[in-house]
Amino acid sequence: MNATGQSRVANKNWSAAVRRVLVFSMLLVVGVLMLIPFLFMISISFDMDARLSVPFPPHLIPVHFGWDSYRIAIQGIDMFRLYGNTIMVSAGVIAASIVSSLMAGYALSKIKLKGGRIILLLALATMMIPPESTIIPVFLLFKQLGLLNSYWAFYLQALSFPFGAFLMKQYIDGLPGELRESALIDGAGEFRVLLRIYLPLCAGMIATITVLQFLANWNNFLWPLILLTDPLKYTIQIGIANFNVASGNGDSMALPSVNMAATVMSLGPVLIVYLFFQRYIVESIANTGIKG
């Protein structure tokens, strides 16, 4: 290689290196910015001065370090029962969502129903209605069905998951239709085709729906609050909300350290689920071509 060529290669290597440094620097800055709230959350949970208000000026390392907030959080609400309740609700909701999304997505993608596109659009259109505006009518519906204070209200509601149906349809669109055709020729029914052929291929999207529904349910506060009256059935977010005190004029005031301690503890299962399923989420997004 002559001198000009070598110089060109060296320039190319140099600009690639600069680009890499810039990209990494940006990612580092954004990563740190995203981590700071979590670090503060953990710091406040251990800060004995943050019982009634966050200390000022804010500091990342607590001046008076202590575990008392965790003690209060565990004693004040039965954390482990709340975990169990929330997992029970989430598991049922995830199962119902997956079943309905899979069936709806398969039908809309492969069976080519007349009017299927319109059905999907109408179902997606319901996502534009704010959930807060339907809480009372839905509550009254479940009251008439005798399902108040029961987890079945969560499970039945989860059967209607238009976004999941949409995601699953998009995913199954990318799977070959010939698999279905040859199975039908061999005498398999639609359910057998779905369960034996397409279900294993949809593992990635099932993992995505699992994570989405788990996060939504784990953080869900208003609907469990409205539906449940038995404290033994309360979910984790209702428990955390108990750590407020009256401010005197009818409002309430969150207690920072105890709230943060309870929130840190509530994050554990979420992190575990996300870390476990993140590989599938990345794969499924890459396969469907859905970005962002």
Binding site: L52, P55, I136, F221, L225, I238, N249, S252, L255
Partner: protein
Amino acid sequence: MNVRKKMVSLLVVLLLLVMTACGSKNSETQPSASSSPDNGAKATESASPPEASKPALKGTLNVAVTMYNAESGVNAATGQNVLGYDEMVKPFLAQHPDLKVNFIQVPNKDSNTNNAKWQTLLLSNQVDIIQGVTMYYFYEQGLLEDLTPYFERDDYKKHFVDSIFSTPSERFLSPQWSEDAKTIYAAPASLATLSVAYDKQIFEDFGVEPLSQNPTMEEIMEKAEKLTGKNPKTGKQTYGLFFDPRKHSHTLLYYFGKGISLGEIDVNDPSKLTYNTPEVRQGIEGMIKAAAYAPPGFEIGQGNENWGTENNTVAIQMVVFPVDMLKPIQNGLQDRFMLTHGVLNKDGHGMFVAGNTYVMAKASENKEAAWELIKYMSGGEGQKFLYDNYGELPSWKDQNWVDESKDPYSPAFMAAAALSKNAFFPGFTFETFRPWMAGVVTNAVNGKTPDLDKDLAEMQKKAEQWVKEQEKK
């Protein structure tokens, strides 16, 4: 075959729709919007007062508790174990062995969440008694029992401090905010009021006389000016006063005007609700002037984080509730942080006296038992229990349990409450006017001079529009 499958599917869908739409006949429990002829449901079905004789109480009562622990556990604010309502009612239940009480804990997250939960509890007939805060909205819907016959029968009102049932009332009497309100729909669980507090240490450092027992705004502004600057002893920048315009601007309006009169709500003459007045203007101008003595960021509630600690740099807190004085007690600084008896209006009254409430569901099937339980919880035993476990001030007249040695601020708060009479602030104030005032103060702090003539005229139009909208509700 394909057509048959489609027809069957369509029939199933239609059948489900019809079943859901028809449902059961229990929907009569839904109240109609027009069930409040006088801005509050009259006691119609229970018009005749309950019987004077007291049969043994039996059955089951469901009680929703919001501001306190339903069951014994840990008080998150103090970290101490506290007893819950399950313990409070034990002596009562010992006298009524055939009566059972179930408690429902309502998390006290914010007023919107509370309202949603209370609404669903009442609509679904799942509760007999609610321990709440402002419940007027539910009384207006016809979901709550009129307690007036019960109060009259048992001559119960006289046991509470007089000021708590003074008109206008927001939390206990109907019609809300009416000077002529006579219907009692809630019983007091506690006592709430507000006052002005100050840091005695900062006053001493600057050589300024402490605030008087009932300071005027002239006194406060004069001293706040002197107390803003570098502390001669510590060298720290100190601020004369603090208030949060987003929450307290209506209170400062009252302070600066020595009371405030916003007129009345008259759907036939909306102009009777008056926001464009010299009083209001004076109050806003006063707040803009007071902003000069407040810490940076006060307009969004910042600058006050060290109140109650040794590092405090704010001399005067313009609006404090009992919970705001917990920090000085927890830090052992009760000799440094002092409480006045509040700013009074021209007639010698403070602006706010209220309390948490007990209400009875209209659909309760055990009203007599519910009333007896409300009497117990709102009475001496119940209020002493709330004081011992939650530090709540009592609205019970014959109380002898407030311990000044452990609770140095209670006497001042109770004195402030005794002098208070609720100032009339219609819903428009909190929905629209107060956020607007907060915006005016913020803009003024940032150098934008407000055109109060134009803005107040605009607010007046909006207020009148709001009054007209009340008629449609």
